[in-house]
Symmetry: D2
Subunit: 363 residues, 4 copies
């Protein structure tokens, strides 16, 4: 079962609502002896946290993580994991419930609060309760632990499309990521997005986006041929992110238009004796199992439903009405989805790394 | 863990290789008292089975299913499920292992046999062993049981793109599905595809495709807000299908380019007193929970790597070589993926229906 | 996987060490709309908490529980569950790590710290870390939620043997449970135990015990015939309690000596039209499924290995040595195991109740 | 979820009824490259199969196993596992449904058919359907695979009590096991049991028994401190066996009467540099983790409810009646439970071996 847990041998369980006292993540199955301090986690939380530019929600949260269990001082005086569950907790601080008073009885079109109400017969209308993107801070914390599980793993994400504007892949420069508030690897696209998002923000509107996550250093052999597929679990992880509406691996949807000749990633032996692929349409995964190439995944997020323009909707009493969202507002939730996507990919890779080691004895 | 099982309260476990004596599916968790005979399953297997037109592999398999457990004659003389595991078995008949002799020691570029070998240190090179699409017959059998679990559920699929050719959605007619060998809902597109696939087949090439699955009669409330999301599990199910490289729900990747105003599915109360959505960009799922609208999912499959044109590759001894595939050949695996996609969506819905009923007591 | 989680549709995940800042329990899958406050949980924690009599460890812990998520004020103003994960947290207060300094490098014979060290290559020697009975407070908190899930359920426990002294079942009086510090239903046995445990305590020794848990109001039909057996999961839950070495259901080990005639629980229709059993050797479970009779389970706990008398052992450097435990000390861990056993039985019943409702639609 | 599956990284899923065409077991997660033929499995099935002496049911089943998937001829020509699911199937042959006609509408007191009917609303009354001990042949087949997963593992079982007659542990001789029809390690006890069981059989009565399973060669470190306890999973596995009513590890229930001094297994360094325990009250498991000593588990089975003497019961129409069982009859189901208990212990150890290797990287 997986209501609020994700993963098997390496598993996260998250809890907490947008406007409760805290949110948290329990990381289970982490191998022992891995150096881990709050500082290892905080950097990733800082990337995700709101209010860092005018393009994301103005909620102010320090998002300070505490490790409440699962680490101990090793012989050498370093704090390391013990193999037991690592409880991570983040206090909520800037929860303004009053902002939500006017949507207490109305369903925002395109928002989870309608289905939530249908399922549970009640809902925590303050900032969407459990359906809030606030939960994703807990994943990012868990993902920071996951990154340390697979030796040599590096997981990086980038925003590659905002509204109708895609990056030019010829301009891709990972170093640009930190030079703009969008995690954009193309400096030119970042400038276009800045203008576009200014306009979106001023209108109180919102826009969708596409995020790409690339993992280097993934050992070959992770995954399984049928329902334990690595790409299946990556897609599951990315689709579990708020607002995600599509996921793809490698060439993805574009592969539908390719011929077998074009799509096949040919191989040659490198002079150093290791097999080499001449392309990566596969996105690093064939038959559900990693090839050793970089794993490449993308996911699309829809525009947030919290917008200033009034939309037709119904209320909890079953009457027609209109709703617009006045509180704090995220013109493009895709920006903050970048570190979240990285976290989910890292968690899946950590889980499959341990599963693979378990079943085959390979490191 | 999920190497070869899928689902939780309703769960399938499949087994079998392309060239072994049989394949099978164990369906666990099916509610008791549901009428079930082999005939209920056979129709779906017949839709998927190979050799039905010149556009799919010429392997001839009757794909006759046997129910080996889990049913019993009820008081009324009808055969019904008993609540215990339903074992479904399909004998393999047309397995020509010799066809594969020449690729025994070479890895097809873009094919699972390379990663399979890396992971397990050996591989069943006869027809790809476990990585063969043959496994999907077992899912289709399991999916036929799943369809009977949710009262009023109808799950239908269609091919909506073959190579570069998409259907015209204005021409969509479900009745056309059975009038062409492609499960194509657009009669005009079907003619274009026929010509295109003739050409592909003659060249010994292959092409990708996009499949759409639509489920009507899905009760509202299935799913959960975080890792038990209905869309997450549908994507996981569809990505577990051989050759799948991307999945999307509702507006999917297109939602990245939409504004919040465009994307929001507005609502009105129907005169009959039920809430009504004015559009379905959500694909029937908001915040991971079903809305009661039709659930709409699409997935892209890549072209098969088994093509006549020689491609550069390496062999199991670590030398450079070339490979082309001579045996039977599937110019567009996307065609047969239609009933497979339907099966996976049905399985996810059955599982979530039972989980929802368990947690909330709602039917 | 179940390193630190227990249950399926209703699932607890616990975290925390004896000497860390806190311990906690995440309850996942709880149905929505159930009234729940801290007070509902605190009473059970108070029964378990240490330092309540001279017969249990003198560690002083208020064991105050906080609910950090998963509840919300309902329309009527009452705090109810929302269907999302309920995070329960208990701060550690009286952790005297210095007490353990002298056993930092020695393994107590019969204690988890040896195997813990072998498995993880390190250990949190302060109060046994994760292997401490402190973790059981988190279960008791989770169990308090579980008790509210099955309508009409009552789960009660009693100590029925301390060292060699069993109760006289003819004297069983549930009202006696609260009249002595042992949860003993037999006033006479309680007096014998008091003398015996005084002696054990003065010697710095320890003793084993047997606990019985009885659940009334269990609906018929919970469980499954093979690996989803209700008794199997109860035994799994009880064996997961620290120091447990044996579990039994109904007549248990005594049934080995019975004849089929003696063991069979005969049935008659009650004048009110309901079936009635004339005995309960089955302990309320036949073929893995509840009968509707009270569910009766027992488990044995060994004496704690923390004793004053020196025992031969080895140290972490691989040398022979001796060890005795000086810190705070629990002469009979079986006493506090009573509310813990109740909690585990309640958790299993809640899980199976939801699973049964999911699969069969029965309430 | 675990209705019909058992285990995590190494998992069995069984299916089949007593009177259906076949029963089977799907083994998932078995490491690749392990030599495996039908002969490796058949020997264990032969030990369990009915009709081997006058002391077990006279049903005649050859219990011939077929491997339908998951193995392949390796380079060296040997048949080995491939890492994919191993489907094992056993045809039913001697199913005399007519024997059961007279109990079609009556519930045998102490038998699963009452609860089965309550849960599912119907039942396969022919030989108890899914609740039949016939299912255990599937486990024994799966257990034969499990035995090959842990290098150096040996799992042996013995009957240690029949009715009121226990063995004398001083007479224990593993070589005696094959010299009598009871898997009895004490030649003298075997003679007592023969007389006792002759009497039981002639009266058409039945008796309970206790089985002990001992596993040598268990690596230290398997298990986890809380809900992934090795002993917890062994107890779960043994309690899942038909008629089991109690389980214990090491000193088990007897440890309740021990003092801490008696119970502690003291340690010394062996001259060869390895730690040595001076006793094994722990049964090879401390704090849920294996110590490296032999793992010792026992379980009690109740007498079968199928007896010749009429017992009071009710019928499906809700009337009072009496029932006696005339068909084939098993005076002591404990005898055949010996290889079944071995199988379950082997399966748990295989699962934990792979889990431990996964989490810690230790072999």
């Amino acid at each position: 079962m997986s209501h609020n847990s994700f993963g098997h041998l390496f598993r996260i369980t998250t809890w907490g609502e947008s406007h409760g006292p805290a949110i948290g993540c329990v990381v289970d199955g982490c191998p022992p002896g891995i150096p881990l301090t709050e500082a290892d986690i905080q950097g990733y939380l800082d990337k995700r946290k709101p209010g860092q530019s005018k393009y994301t929600t103005q909620r102010k949260e320090p998002d300070t993580v505490e490790i409440l269990s699962g680490v101990f001082e090793s012989e050498g005086g370093e704090q390391v994991t013990t193999g037991t569950p690592i409880a991570l907790e983040i206090k909520n601080q800037d929860a303004r419930s009053k902002d939500y008073g006017d949507i207490k009885d109305k369903f925002r079109p395109g928002h989870a609060d309608y289905t939530y109400f249908l399922k549970y017969g009640l809902r925590d209308w303050r900032g969407s309760g459990r359906a809030s993107a606030r939960e994703t801070a807990a994943r990012v914390a868990g993902g920071a632990v996951a990154r340390k599980v697979v030796p040599g793993l590096r997981v990086r994400g980038a925003l590659v499309q905002v509204g109708p504007y895609e990056i030019d892949r010829g301009n891709w420069d990972w170093d640009e990521i930190d030079n703009n508030p969008f995690f954009c690897p193309d400096a030119k696209a970042a400038r276009v997005w800045a203008d576009f998002l200014d306009e979106v923000r001023k209108k109180g509107s919102s826009t969708g986006a596409v995020i790409e996550v690339v993992a280097d250093g993934v050992p070959a052999g992770l995954g399984a041929p049928v329902y334990g597929k690595l790409d299946q679990d990556i897609c599951s992880g990315l689709m579990s992110i708020n607002a995600a509406k599509g996921v793809e691996i490698g060439a993805g949807f574009a592969s539908a238009a390719l011929s077998g000749e074009e799509n096949a990633d040919e191989m040659r032996m490198h002079p150093n004796g290791t097999p080499e692929f001449l392309s990566n349409n596969a996105g690093g995964i064939l038959g559900g199992i990693s090839t050793g190439q970089p794993v490449v995944a993308r996911f699309a997020v829809k525009p947030t439903s919290s917008i200033l323009t009034a939309r037709r909707t119904i209320d909890t009493a079953g009457g027609d009405t209109e709703v617009s969202t006045k509180g704090r507002h995220d013109p493009c939730v895709g920006i903050r989805a970048v570190p979240i996507g990285e976290a989910m990919v890292a968690i899946v890779l950590a889980d499959h790394y341990l599963r693979h080691r378990g079943q085959t004895g390979q490191d």
